[in-house]
C-alpha cells in the first residue's frame, strides 16, 4: 500500500532524474560529434579515457571546487552574522529584512552584467574611485587572480541573503526560554551562542550548505556572463566546459561524459558532507 502511494512520486523522479542519467550514460559511450554528422557511433570507453587524461577537465574541476568551498564558506559566515543581527529586535528591522533579500531576488544574469560594469577597467565605478584617489586602476576581469575573486565576490553578494534567510528561520525556531534558563544558571550571552544557538541551528546550517554547495558546484550563468570563463580559462567551471562541448563544439558524447564526471564529483562531495555531519553528531552526545 505504501508503495502504491509512493508510486506517483517515484515515477516522477524516475522520469526527470533516472531517465536523463541513463540517456547520458549511453551518450557517453558514443561519438556523437559534428564529425559524425551528429549521428551516434559507439566508441566504448573512448570518451571516458579522454576525460581521465583531459587536463582541462581536472583544472576546471579544481577551479569549480575551490570556487564552491570559498564562496559557500563566506556565505555561511556572513549569512550567520546577518541572521543573528536580523533576529534581534531593533527599529527598522522589517525594512532591513526585506531590503537584504534584494540581491537574492535579482536574476543572476542581470546581477552578473551589473558586476561586469562595476568592475570594468578603466570605466567602472570602483576603478573611478581608485583613480580619483591617485591609485592605479585594477584590471579585475583581465587578471587570472582578480577575475577569480570577482566571481566569488559576486556570488557571495547574491546568495548570502538566501543563507541568512534560512538561518533566520532556524533562529526563530529556538525557544526563548532556553536562553532564559541559561541566563538564570549564570551563562553569559556569548556562551549562549556557542552552547545553544549553534547546536540547535545545525540542521539549518546543513540544509543551507547542501543547497548552496549543489548550486555552486554547478555554477554556470554567473560565470558565463561575468567572465565567459576567461582570462586563460581561469574562471571556467565544469558546467561551462560541458556547455562549450555541447553547444559550441557540437561534441555531445564528450559533453555527456563531462556532465557525468561532474555528477560523480558532486555525489562524492555530498557523501563527504553527510559523513562529516554524522561524525559531528557523534562527537556531541
Amino acid at each position: 500500500m505504501s508503495l502504491l502511494l509512493m508510486a506517483p512520486a517515484l515515477l516522477l523522479l524516475l522520469a526527470v532524474f533516472l531517465w536523463p542519467m541513463l540517456d547520458y550514460a549511453w551518450l557517453s559511450l558514443q561519438a556523437q560529434t559534428v564529425f559524425t554528422g551528429l549521428k551516434p557511433v559507439p566508441v566504448g570507453l573512448a570518451n571516458w579515457e579522454r576525460l581521465l587524461g583531459d587536463g582541462r577537465f581536472w583544472q576546471d574541476a579544481a577551479q569549480t571546487l575551490r570556487f564552491a568551498v570559498v564562496s559557500v564558506g563566506l556565505e555561511l559566515l556572513l549569512g550567520l552574522a546577518i541572521a543573528l543581527l536580523l533576529h534581534q529586535s531593533w527599529r527598522g528591522r522589517g525594512l532591513v529584512r526585506s531590503l537584504s533579500l534584494l540581491p537574492w531576488a535579482l536574476p543572476t544574469t542581470v546581477m552578473a552584467l551589473g558586476w561586469r560594469w562595476i568592475l570594468n577597467d578603466p570605466n567602472g565605478p570602483i576603478n573611478g574611485v581608485m583613480q580619483s584617489l591617485g591609485l592605479p586602476s585594477l584590471p579585475f576581469l583581465a587578471s587570472t587572480q582578480l577575475a577569480w575573486l570577482a566571481v566569488v565576490l559576486a556570488d557571495t553578494w547574491k546568495t548570502t541573503p538566501f543563507v541568512a534567510l534560512l538561518l533566520l528561520a532556524g533562529l526563530q525556531m529556538i525557544p526563548t526560554d532556553l536562553y532564559e534558563a541559561f541566563a538564570l544558571e549564570g551563562g553569559r550571552p556569548w556562551q549562549g551562542l556557542r552552547r545553544i544557538t549553534l547546536p540547535l541551528l545545525r540542521p539549518y546550517v546543513l540544509i543551507a550548505l547542501i543547497f548552496r554547495l549543489a548550486q555552486a558546484l554547478g555554477v554556470f550563468d554567473l560565470v558565463a556572463v561575468l567572465t565567459g570563463g576567461g582570462p586563460a580559462s581561469s574562471t571556467e567551471t565544469l558546467a561551462l566546459y560541458a556547455y562549450l562541448n555541447a553547444m559550441r563544439f557540437l561534441d555531445f558524447g564528450y559533453s555527456a561524459t563531462v556532465m557525468l564526471g561532474m555528477f560523480v564529483l558532486l555525489l562524492a562531495s555530498a557523501l563527504l558532507l553527510v559523513l562529516a555531519q554524522q561524525r559531528w553528531r557523534g562527537a556531541r552526545p
Binding site: T33, V34, F35, G37, L38, R56, D121, P122, N123, S137, P139, L141, A142, S143, T144, G228, G229, G230, P231, A232, S233, S234, L244, M247, R248, F249, L250, D251
Partner: protein, 437 residues
Amino acid sequence: MQSAALGGSEPGCDLRPAARQAWFAVGLGLGLALALLWGGLAWAGRPTTVRLLMPAPFADATAELVESFNREHRGLRIAVTRGPFETESVSDLAISSLLLGDSPYDLLLMDVTWTAKYAAAGWLLPLDDWLGPEPLAPLVAGARAGNIIDGNLWRVPMVADMGLMYWRTDLMAAPPRTPTELVAISERLQRQGKVRWGYVWQGRQYEGLSCVFLEMLRGFGGNWESSGEGLGTPAATKAASWLRQLIVKGISPAAVANFAEPEALQSFEAGEAAFMRNWPYAWQELQGPSSRVAGKVGVTMMVAEVGEPPAATQGSWGLSVLAGSRHPAEAVQVLQALTGEASQRLLVQRWGYSPTLTALFDDPALVAERPLLPILQNALESVALRPLNPGYAQLSDILQRQLSSVITGELEPALAMERAGRGSQLLLEASGRGSEQ
C-alpha cells in the same frame, strides 16, 4: 417533442416540425459550406511567411529593406527574429532550436566561421541547384571564400567584414607599416603625453582574439592553414610574444586582456589611444557625435614585418537556408533579395557595412559618398581565412585559451604555442581530418 410545444399554431410559424428541421439542416449545410469556402480562400490568399534569424544589429539595419520587401510582395512575407547582440549567442540560439529538430527558422544570417560546422551537422540546404550557374561570380574575390565547402555552396554573403587598423591622422603623418614601427610611434606619442595608450585591440578569451592573432601570425610570416595547422610554429610564437610585449611595455593597457570590440572602440573614441584594431563598422561610430576623434581617423591594413603582405581576417555575414525549411523556394527568393545589389547599397550608404559585390566597389558615385570603400576593397584582396573545418570552434578555443595565458603572463609564448599546436593536432587526428588529408 410535440407541435404544440413548438408553438405551431402561432401566425407565421405554421411549418410542421419535420420541415423546420429540414430547412434548418439545409441552412446549416449552406452556412458551413460558405464558411469552408471563405476559409479556404483566405488560407490560399494568406502570404507564405519566411522566418529569418539575425543578430540584433543586422535586424535593425535591414528593417527598412524587409519592410519594403513585404510591401512589394503580396504572397510572401519576411518575419525577422531579432537575435542577441553577441555573435556566439546568436549561434547558441540557432543551435538550440536546430537540435530540437523542428527549427522555426527558414533562413539564418551566419558568421563565416559557422558555415563548415552547420554544413557538417546537416542543418543547411545546399544552394547550388537554386541559384543558377556561378552565383558567386559578381562578388569580389575575398568575399567569395568561405561559402563553398566540400564542393557545395552553403551561404551567400550579405556584408563583408575584415580586420582593419584605425590610426590618428592628427598625431602622425603616415601610419606604421611594421610591428616595430607601431611600437616606436606608440612609445613616442605616449612619452609626449599625446595619448594614454598606443594600441587598443581585442584580447579577451573569445573569437575576436583569434582574429587579432591571425593577422599578426600572417604579419610574422606564418599562417593558420585551412587544415587547422600552423599554430606550433616559430612565427606563431613571434606573434604571441609581440602581443604580450605590448602589455609589458605599457603600449596596451593590461585591461586589454578583457577587451572585445566595444571596449577597444570606447577607448579609441575617447581619444585615449593612437591605434585600434577593429572591423569596418567602427568607422561610422567614430564619425558620430559622441566621438572625440571625428575627422582625425585614418584606416589602413594591419602591420606586418618587412617582406610580408599585411593581412585582414575575413569576417562577413551571409544568409543560409536551413535544411528543415518548408518553403525553400521562397527562402531562396528572400536570400537573393537581401544579398542583392539594392540591399547591399542601402546597407553601406545608411549603415556603413562593407558590400561584397564588385559592382558596388566600382561605382564612382558610391565611392565618392563612402571614401572608405577602396580601402575595404584593398583589404578584401588580402583577407586571411580562418580554417574551414567543422571543428573550427574547438580549434579556435584551443588557440584562445593558450593566447589568453600568454597575454595575462601566465605562460611563456613558445610553450603556449607549442601546446596550441599539439592540441589542434590531437583534435584533427581524432576527427580524422589530420595531416594525412
